[in-house]
Amino acid sequence: MGTETTLVSEAPCEITLENFLEFPEGRKVLSCIQCGLCAGTCPYGDVMDYPPRRIIAMLRAGMLEKVFHSESLLNCVACYACMAKCPRDIRLTEVLLPLVKEEIFVHLPEVPPELQKALQNTLRYGNPMGESPRKRVAWTKTTDVPIPILGEMSRPVDVLWFVECYTSYHPRGQDNSRALAKIFNGLGIDFAILGNEEKCAGECARLVGEAGLFGTLQDYTMTLFRRYEGRFNRIVTSGAHAYDAFRYQYPALGFDYQVDHTMPFLFQHLEQLKPMLSRKLNYRVTYHDACCLGRHNGFYEEPRALLTAIPGVKLVEMTHNRINSICCGGGGGGMWLDTYYKAKGYERLSERRVKEAVATGADVLAISCPYEVSRFEDAAKVLGYDNKLVVRDISELLAEAMQS
């Protein structure tokens, strides 16, 4: 496999709730001081019957069974806020909450229909939208630059670009992919994609508690990587959740490729990129820190450095930024629970975030996770701000700043 390894070796999926306390991560829960920072920082903590603090208390009291029969953690959008704020460094979003969610998912009397459809689609078609797997590669016909497909090439490449679902199928996600293709081409990156063979990396299935679906997708993708062993050196993806899956979950199955999200990857090429950014964009931009990139992996400054490298861009910050960023509401299955949240009377997190973005006076809300473009555009329309604020992936802004 790859020559460089930056992957953690911890394999959390070996941990179960039964053997939880045998692992260091499990024993850490014993040190919880019940300060409640986790519940306080949770964007839906106010509507949860069992916020993280109570779950830990009930686990220690042997009362966790009660939690399994509640829908409480359907409100967990896996934003890593609780984990980032925990003074005891308890790996809530990484380890404990997914394990509890697995049990909750099995006991759910009814899976909310929107989520059910997304999960069934992901299992059958490899993408949550239920689009044809044979059309996954169709977007490549709409680019100005050639997009090589690994299986059709006779030579190895440096970078395997793992495109992911929304960036393959969603019309606005495809804008991100077209922009990246232009940037990669401009930088002279030697890349290829998997084409129609690619399927969802599965992270959000895991984070909603559908561990079996995640395992199925993980097995499939690992088989694909093994088939192309020696044909690429490293993986780059614009999918923030795919990045997380490859970095933290796939190593348990022997994955040891270097993996980069496109934001830190392009940041590594910033000096080469700067001379290409010759078109002035007079935008006032605010940046939404994606949960996986920011709180989970600490990539706060790289996206900002890319934005401020664009001539004419003025970067302004929202009240909640970096570690305090508010989730778009799409993680942990939230992408397909909007109807459920709405029916419960909860405010959509994407709307809360768009209000903050508008308050900065920005005319562009910049994002770095493929879930966010549709979530924020929808929220802006619902709130009547669609004439005030446009949502753009940072890759789109970079490509726009490149003279064609």
Binding site: V111, P113, Q116, Y125, A211
Partner: protein, 259 residues
């Protein structure tokens, strides 16, 4: 209550359908099959009846690609037995399928007698939704179609089937058992079954097989030609501000005599 659910695998229209060179059949090279939606609702209704009144649910399906995964999912949802019928063309027309299923049910061991036979009221490859009525005719059993709810009495002698009529009219039928019901929709959407549960069932349970009887009578209808719908004229997009667009809509409606 002993309930049989008939399940058909039909072409998945997420993939574009192609017609074979013979002009009468679907090209199977990229064709994928999926459980018929109303059959899935029939299974859900059967599982709800089992949960409320006890009994056993058996799923019977003509063999087809990807059927094993579907049947294991049925078992994981709560069905007790899953029987696949071998020796059948993977995609069958509606009337021939009904005759075949009637013969399979009467000849395969351990399927009949059943108190209830539930199946979807229609499928996309079914010309006129005759699977359940022909089946009931051949088996000489009472039949109600377009059913959206089934409740059973205590002793299991009768069920009450709610049938939908046009204009939002609903009727309740008391049906003597055994009977055949054509399910239009279950009382609630078909349940989700976690993949891990399906995987566990694959290890702990097995699928049964029964051979289709030889010499099944062909369907009464023959497919003469299969063709893709021809594209009609393109839609006209009305441009302009809302007042202009509204004006144009009024002109179009007036020209067609609607206004």
């Amino acid at each position: 209550m002993n309930i049989l659910v008939l399940l058909r695998m039909i072409p998945d229209v997420v993939e574009e359908l192609e017609i074979s060179n013979d002009g009468k059949t679907l090209d199977r090279e990229f064709l994928r099959l999926i459980p018929n939606e109303t059959d899935d609702h029939a299974l859900e209704e059967a599982l709800l009846l089992k949960e409320r009144h006890g009994g056993k649910v058996t799923v019977v399906a003509p063999d087809a690609p990807e059927l094993d995964d579907v049947l294991f999912a049925c078992l994981a949802k709560g069905a007790d037995r899953a029987v696949k019928i071998s020796g059948v063309e993977p995609v069958m027309g509606g009337r021939a399928a009904a005759r075949l299923m009637a013969q399979v049910l009467t000849t395969a061991p351990g399927l009949l007698p059943a108190d209830l036979i539930l199946t979807g009221v229609q499928s996309t490859e079914d010309l006129d939704g005759l699977m359940a009525p022909i089946l009931s005719h051949l088996l000489q059993l009472p039949y109600v179609d377009n059913v959206t709810q089934v409740t059973a009495d205590g002793p299991g002698k009768t069920v009450t089937a709610v049938k939908e009529f046009p204009s939002a009219v609903r009727a309740e039928f008391d049906v003597q058992l055994p009977a055949v019901l054509g399910i239009q929709a279950a009382e609630k959407p078909p349940r989700y079954v976690p993949v891990a549960k399906v995987r566990a069932v694959m290890k702990s349970q097995h699928l049964e097989s029964a051979a289709a009887p030889a010499g099944v009578e062909a369907g009464q209808l023959e497919i003469l030609q299969m063709a893709k719908p021809e594209p009609a004229e393109h839609a006209e997009m009305l441009a302009g501000d809302p007042a202009q667009v509204a004006g144009k809509i009024c002109e179009i409606l007036a020209a067609r005599g609607v206004l």
